[in-house]
C-alpha cells in the first residue's frame, strides 16, 4: 500500500505576523498582540520573532513581557482579520487536496497522498504551499512532511519561521527521539510531570518504554502516546473546517484582578456560563458534562468535571454545576486569577429526553424560555441591553465572550 504523505502547516507567529504585515512601521520592533492591559484580557496572544528574542512568551501576563522587553509594542487583536487569513490559507490548501483538517485557526493537516507520484513530491508540494502563502498572503509558514499526522506536526515545529522539514520513516528516530517528551502532541504539563517521575524525558525514552509500563503510568493514554512516539499513529486527516468541530464548547477568562471570595468567582462563572450557553443554543446543541478550569495568581491550576442528570444549554444550570465543582475543589490557598467553563457530552438540542416526575420540569422549561427571550433581545439591542443584576454590580468581571472572542479550542480526536 502506498505510504501516506501528510503535511502539517503552521502559520508562524500568526496574529503578530498579520499585524506586522498591515502595519509596516512596527515591523522592525518587538511586537506582541494582546488583550488590553486596562481591561481583563492582559495576556500575550502572539509575539513576533523580535519579541521572542527577548523571552516574551505566549500566554504570559503583559506586565511580565514588558519587564523582559520594555520597548515591546502592544497591539490589540483583530480576530475578523485573522479569520479571513485562516480561510485564505485553507483555500490555498484546497488547491492540493480536499482532505484538510484544521487544528486551530493557524494550523492544518493536509493529506496529499493522492497527488504524490514519487518520494520527493511531498517536500516539493510543501515548498510550493509555503511559498504561495508568503506570496499571496504576506505571512510565513512552517511545514512538516511525514507519513503520519504526529510526525508532520513535530516537523513543522522544528524549524521556524518559513521552513519545510521532512521526517522520514528511516530517519525519524534520529530526528525526533532526542526531543523533550513534552514536544509530543498531547503531552501537557501534567503528563510531562508523570513521565519525568517515571524517568522518561525524551520522545525516544517514551518510544523505548513498554506499552504495559506506560499504561500503568497514564492509563490507555500511555499506549496512545507510545504509538505516537514510534510512528504508529494511523489516524486519518479528516475533512474539517475550523468552525465545524464541536466536541465541546467552552470559554475561559483571565481576570483583571485576583478573586478572593466565592461571590466573585460565581459572577465570573455566570459570565462564562452565559457565553457557553448562548453558543450551544446558536449551534442547536446541549451538553451533559460540565468542566471547570481554575488558575491561581501564580498561574498554577486544576480542572474538574461533573455530569448533570440531563443535557442542558441553560446558563443557570451550567453555572450552578460549575460552582458546585468549584466549591468542592478550591481550598483558597491562593486567590483565583483565571477561570474556564466548558460543556462536553454534546448532542443536538432536539433529541428526546426522558423527564422525571421528581424534577420541576415546569421550572426548567420556564428558564429555557427566559434564556431564549434574552437571546432575542440581545440580537436586536446588543449584549449589554439586558443583564443579570449581579453582573451589573461588578463591571470589571462582566464581559461578552461570545462576540469579543471567536477563537474556539479544538480537539485532535474527532
Amino acid at each position: 500500500m502506498k505510504e501516506k504523505v501528510i503535511l502539517h502547516c503552521d502559520l508562524n507567529n500568526f496574529y503578530a505576523s498579520v499585524e506586522c504585515l498591515y502595519n509596516p512601521q512596527i515591523r522592525e520592533f518587538p511586537v506582541a498582540v494582546c488583550g488590553s492591559p486596562e481591561e481583563r484580557r492582559g495576556i500575550v496572544l502572539a509575539k513576533n520573532q523580535l519579541a521572542k528574542k527577548f523571552g516574551v512568551t505566549t500566554g504570559e501576563p503583559i506586565w511580565q513581557s514588558l519587564q523582559k522587553c520594555p520597548k515591546l509594542i502592544l497591539v490589540r487583536p483583530n480576530f475578523e482579520l485573522y479569520l479571513r487569513f485562516s480561510g485564505e490559507a485553507r483555500e490555498i490548501f484546497s488547491r492540493y487536496t480536499s482532505l484538510v483538517e484544521a487544528f486551530g485557526i493557524d494550523e492544518c493537516w493536509l493529506d496529499i497522498t493522492a497527488i504524490c507520484k514519487n518520494e520527493r513530491d511531498g517536500e516539493r508540494f510543501a515548498y510550493e504551499i509555503k511559498d504561495l502563502i508568503k506570496e499571496e498572503m504576506g505571512v510565513t509558514a512552517s511545514v512538516g512532511v511525514s507519513f503520519n499526522k504526529i510526525f508532520a506536526k513535530l516537523g513543522s515545529d522544528m524549524k521556524k519561521p518559513d521552513a519545510v522539514t521532512v521526517i522520514t520513516r528511516e530517519g525519524f528516530q534520529k530526528q525526533l527521539w532526542g526531543l523533550p517528551v513534552n514536544e509530543l502532541l498531547y503531552v501537557g504539563r501534567s503528563t510531562n510531570k508523570k513521565l519525568q517521575r517515571a524517568g522518561i524525558y525524551t520522545i525516544g525514552d517514551l518510544a523505548q518504554a513498554t506499552p504495559t509500563f506506560l499504561k500503568t503510568q497514564l492509563g490507555k493514554w500511555g499506549e496512545t502516546l507510545w504509538c505516537f512516539a514510534n510512528g504508529l499513529d494511523e489516524s486519518p486527516v479528516h475533512r474539517v473546517e475550523y468552525e465545524q468541530t464541536i466536541k465541546g464548547v467552552g470559554n475561559s477568562m483571565t481576570l483583571p484582578r485576583d478573586l478572593h471570595n466565592e461571590e466573585d468567582v460565581k459572577t465570573t462563572m455566570l459570565v462564562l456560563a452565559e457565553s457557553v450557553a448562548r453558543r450551544l443554543r446558536n449551534h442547536g446543541l446541549k451538553g451533559k458534562t460540565i468542566q471547570i478550569y481554575v488558575r491561581d495568581n501564580k498561574l498554577s491550576g486544576c480542572e474538574r468535571q461533573g455530569m448533570l442528570e440531563k443535557t442542558t444549554n441553560s446558563s443557570y444550570e451550567i453555572a450552578t454545576k460549575a460552582m458546585e465543582l468549584f466549591h468542592d475543589t478550591w481550598d483558597w490557598h491562593l486567590p483565583v486569577r483565571a477561570v474556564g467553563v466548558r460543556v462536553t457530552g454534546i448532542c443536538p438540542d432536539d433529541e428526546y429526553v426522558q423527564i422525571s416526575f421528581l424534577d420541576d420540569e415546569g421550572q426548567r422549561q420556564k428558564r429555557e424560555k427566559l434564556e431564549s427571550a434574552i437571546d432575542r433581545i440581545r440580537d436586536r439591542f446588543g449584549h449589554y441591553s439586558i443583564q443579570r443584576a449581579v453582573l451589573i454590580k461588578d463591571k470589571d468581571l462582566s464581559a461578552n465572550p461570545v462576540e469579543e472572542n471567536v477563537i474556539h479550542p479544538v480537539s485532535y480526536f474527532r
Partner: protein, 77 residues
C-alpha cells in the same frame, strides 16, 4: 512607500472578474487605467495589506492597485 485608499470605478466582466477602470487620486484628479497588465492574489509588503493585485498602466506609468477585502488602495511613493 505609502498606502493610499482610493475611490475606484470598476466593471464586472461577463467572466465574473472585477476590473478597475479609473481611480480618484489625492489631488482630486481622476486617472483612467489604460491597460491592466497583470492580476493575481498577492500581499503588499511595501504598503501593508493583501488581496487582488492589479498591475496597471496609467498615463504611461506602471501603477499597482490592490483590492483588499472590498477596499482599493494604491502603492504610492
Amino acid at each position: 512607500m505609502r498606502k493610499v485608499f482610493v475611490d475606484v470605478t470598476a466593471k464586472f466582466t461577463k467572466d465574473g472578474c472585477l476590473e478597475p477602470i479609473a481611480f480618484m487620486w489625492e489631488n482630486g484628479k481622476k486617472y483612467e487605467i489604460d491597460k491592466i497588465l497583470d492580476i493575481k492574489k498577492a500581499a503588499s509588503l511595501k504598503a501593508g495589506g493583501h488581496g487582488i493585485r492589479y498591475l496597471c498602466k496609467v498615463r504611461g506609468k506602471e501603477v499597482v492597485i490592490f483590492l483588499d477585502n472590498g477596499k482599493w488602495f494604491v502603492e504610492a511613493l
